[in-house]
């Protein structure tokens, strides 16, 4: 059992939870993730990134957006409740070393797992620039923490409700022109795909962190497989980070939609059920 010791709501859809998980807190490194299953025989296992960890307290922090049934149910848990199953840390840690100038780009919820990477990159002696973006102001995460790493933090929103009205790729391109040794991009698949495109002109290396369909997270199911430079790789054991130039983005983006029809139907039903329970319908 993994007790929830803190919970924050960052926007209507985005939550963070601090969980008691001493072993994971001890072992986890930047770039790794966990699989969470809230309990019982019937609930889904979902991969979630580790946003932070405190070895002394023995806790990890997960950040998630309520997109499907599992994340909605997770969001209903509160401080003092426990999550039955948390497996991790999974995936290979980020290769943290001295590159020179590193640009960290985070989109939406991807900003959360980006933070420990940006922090570690800075600690490794890199000059770190950070770009964070979201659809609108309410979805901007970790602004203060990121500003500690990069005082000249660049914030963008799609609708211009906060910071610069732009996609993350615009300032990324500008920075790349000034000369960048390594880019790390984490966010929705489509954002990462275009970050790679933004890097291409200047031939800047771009590392991405993929979030695919996954069940066990240990290499067993192969649901997370992606084409990396024409070779099939598993995100859970070979990743989650890959050279963005090598990723077959179209295949990856399509594979994420395998269960979309079923999920949309279920999600709709789930929303209604939750509203009935909460007396809203």
């Amino acid at each position: 059992m993994y007790e929830i010791v803190d919970k924050k709501q960052h926007s209507p859809e985005v939550f963070s939870m601090e969980l008691k998980a001493p072993r994971i807190a001890k072992e986890r490194k930047a770039g790794q993730f966990v699989i969470v299953q809230i309990g019982g025989d019937y609930n889904e296992r979902i991969p979630l990134t580790i946003a932070n960890a405190d070895k002394e307290k023995g806790t990890i922090t997960i950040v998630f957006q309520t997109v499907g049934e599992a994340t909605h149910l997770l969001a209903r848990l509160n401080v003092g409740d426990s999550i039955e199953n948390v497996l991790g840390p999974l995936g290979s840690p980020t290769d943290i070393k001295y590159f020179g100038k590193v640009v960290c780009v985070g989109g939406g919820i991807g900003v959360a797992p980006l933070y420990p990477i940006a922090k570690a990159m800075k600690e490794a002696g890199n000059e770190v620039r950070v770009i964070i973006g979201a659809r609108n102001k309410s979805l901007i995460l970790e602004e203060d923490l990121m500003r500690e790493i990069d005082p000249n933090l660049i914030v963008v929103t799609d609708d211009g409700s906060y910071g610069r009205k732009a996609l993350v790729t615009e300032p990324l391109k500008e920075l790349c022109k000034e000369g960048v040794d390594q880019v790390v991009a984490i966010g929705p698949g489509i954002m990462m795909k275009f970050c790679v495109e933004a890097c291409r002109d200047t031939n800047t290396p771009c590392l991405v962190s993929l979030n695919t369909i996954m069940i066990d997270g240990t290499g067993m199911c192969g649901g997370c497989r992606v084409h990396i430079g024409n070779v099939t790789k598993f995100v859970c054991v070979d990743g989650p980070e890959f050279d963005g130039y090598q990723v077959d983005w179209d295949n990856m983006l399509k594979r994420q939609r395998t269960y979309r029809d079923i999920e949309e139907m279920r999600h709709h039903k789930c929303h209604i059920d939750l509203q009935i329970e909460e007396g809203r319908a």
Partner: protein, 492 residues
């Protein structure tokens, strides 16, 4: 008792009453093998419940009377764990069911499971004198069914194995499948503390996520796990050794005196043909895990989706392929084809599973090799291009190898492909533990006699060593390692 079992059992009872007290070999040979009651195919494809319903008491006794009690016990030589088969069968013939199970449990720890999933026709039953005398392997004494009967009937009355006084020594066991279960019990019996670490949220390994309910009900697996706990074995889920805890750390920091790795065959193999990453192409592991572990077959309650298929192609001819095909039918597929490149003579699945699959309407496209998977405009599977094969010379496995016939390509329509061609070993422990040596295929290299790996104090068994093997072979390896671990700890 189930009505269907009752009918067969009544017939057996009547026949028993007609038989004389002592039987000659000729009379024994004249008794026909006892059929096992099953759910009718048309009915069972609509549910997940067990297909075979087990023997009634009289059926078991009558079947046991077919055994000739051969002096040289050829059947025992075919059993990977050497169960004293004629002995347990004669106990059943005498209606001493508890004693029969005790005989089995001297050598095997999971009779309720092995009785159901062992490929008996290639093991004990293959050597049975009765089958040989009648020149029909199918007429061998139904040893597996009798084993199952003994376990199901007397399972609750047999007491737990004795655990010796605590030695204060600790052994970590990685994974909770058959190899780990058998190793744990044998080590625990010597009085050592045993801690099993399982990565998934449920114990049992392949018994839980892999083998479907209709072949191995999960209540049986749960019972075995409960027995482990009653023996004082500690079990913990959500621990992935190699990530959550390191193998080295177990020995150096966590105070374990030895470790057994039974982590199973990790990564599903794919064929490497174009189109394999299309959206509705699944590894058998994924398809079965969704259905078995995540309970996706229970559409009302399960939250993990499983792809809704109409026409399914399953690549491969092993038990996992049969399980996948039969699961697909139960999940509502209209047509399911097994695509296998050799013939029925070479098919590696248990005979029983092939028969059940056929009865349920699974089609077998033999001497057929998939060469490409075609997608529709949304990248879901639309068709599979296959090539005809013919059989050539025997290969290393002794089976005649398939030769593809150039120019025979044709397209078959499907919306789903399940790839069930085996697994390669999971690289995780190897990756995080450099002192473990593996072979070309990534399997752990172990000492033949002790199952010790190249890292001192670390033993391994089951699929991580053998590649893809059976429950019983994994169990045998677990026991061999346990023996070596016990010797090591007793010396210390």
């Amino acid at each position: 008792m189930d009505k269907r079992v009752e009918i067969l059992d009544k017939e057996a009872k009547e026949e028993l009453e007609r038989l004389p007290e002592s039987l000659s070999a000729k009379e024994r040979l004249s008794i026909l093998p006892q059929k096992m009651a099953v759910q009718a195919p048309s009915e069972r494809v609509k549910n997940m419940e067990e297909v075979e319903l087990g023997y009634g008491e009289n059926q078991a006794v009558l079947e046991a009377k077919r055994c000739l009690n051969c002096k040289n016990k050829p059947c025992v030589s075919g059993c990977p764990v050497g169960i004293d088969i004629p002995n347990f069968i004669s106990k059943i013939a005498n209606r001493e069911f508890k004693e029969a199970l005790e005989v089995i449990e001297e050598s095997s720890l999971l009779p309720a499971i092995c009785g159901r999933v062992c490929p008996q026709e290639n093991q004990c039953q293959k050597f049975c004198t009765v089958g040989k005398s009648l020149k029909d392997l199918d007429k061998a004494v139904q040893i597996g069914r009798l084993e199952r009967f003994a376990a199901d009937t007397a399972g609750d009355s047999v007491s737990l194995p004795k655990v010796k006084e605590s030695t204060g020594k600790k052994v970590a066991v990685v994974g909770s499948g058959p190899a780990s279960i058998s190793c744990s019990v044998d080590v625990r019996k010597e009085g050592h503390d045993v801690y099993i670490y399982e990565a998934l949220h449920k114990m049992g390994g392949v018994l839980s996520y892999g083998i479907p309910e209709f072949r191995l009900p999960k209540r049986i697996v749960d019972k075995e796990i409960e027995r482990l706990r009653k023996l004082g074995i500690h079990t913990e889920t959500n621990v992935l050794v190699g990530r959550t805890l390191s193998l080295k750390g177990l020995l150096t920091e966590d105070g374990f005196d030895a470790v057994f790795v039974g982590s199973g065959a990790g990564l599903p193999k794919f064929m490497g043909i174009p189109g394999e990453n299309l959206l509705s192409v699944f590894s058998a592991n994924e398809y079965l895990t969704r259905s078995n572990l995540m309970k996706a077959f229970d559409v009302e309650r399960a939250r993990t989706p499983v792809f809704k298929s109409k026409k399914v192609a399953v690549f491969g001819g092993g038990n996992v392929a049969m399980d996948s095909a039969r699961t697909a039918l139960r999940l509502g597929a209209e047509r399911v084809d097994i695509i296998y490149r050799r013939t029925m003579d070479e098919i590696p699945a248990r005979k029983e599973e092939v028969r059940h699959a056929k009865e349920e309407g699974v089609n077998f496209l033999l001497l057929t090799q998939p060469v490409e998977i075609m997608g529709d405009e949304r990248d879901f599977v639309r068709a599979v291009v296959v090539r005809d094969c013919k059989l050539g010379e025997p290969d290393q496995s002794g089976r005649r190898s398939p030769i593809e016939i150039e120019g025979s390509e044709h397209e078959l329509e499907y919306d789903t492909v399940i790839v069930a061609i085996g697994n390669t070993s999971n690289p995780l422990i190897k990756k995080t533990t450099p002192s473990i040596e593996t072979n070309k295929r990534g399997n752990f290299i172990v000492d033949e006699n002790t199952n010790e790996t190249t890292m001192e104090g670390v033993y391994a068994g089951g699929d991580i060593v053998l590649g893809a093997a059976t429950v019983i072979l994994a169990m045998g390896q677990g026991r061999k390692a346990a023996k070596a671990i016990n010797e090591r700890l007793n010396k210390k």
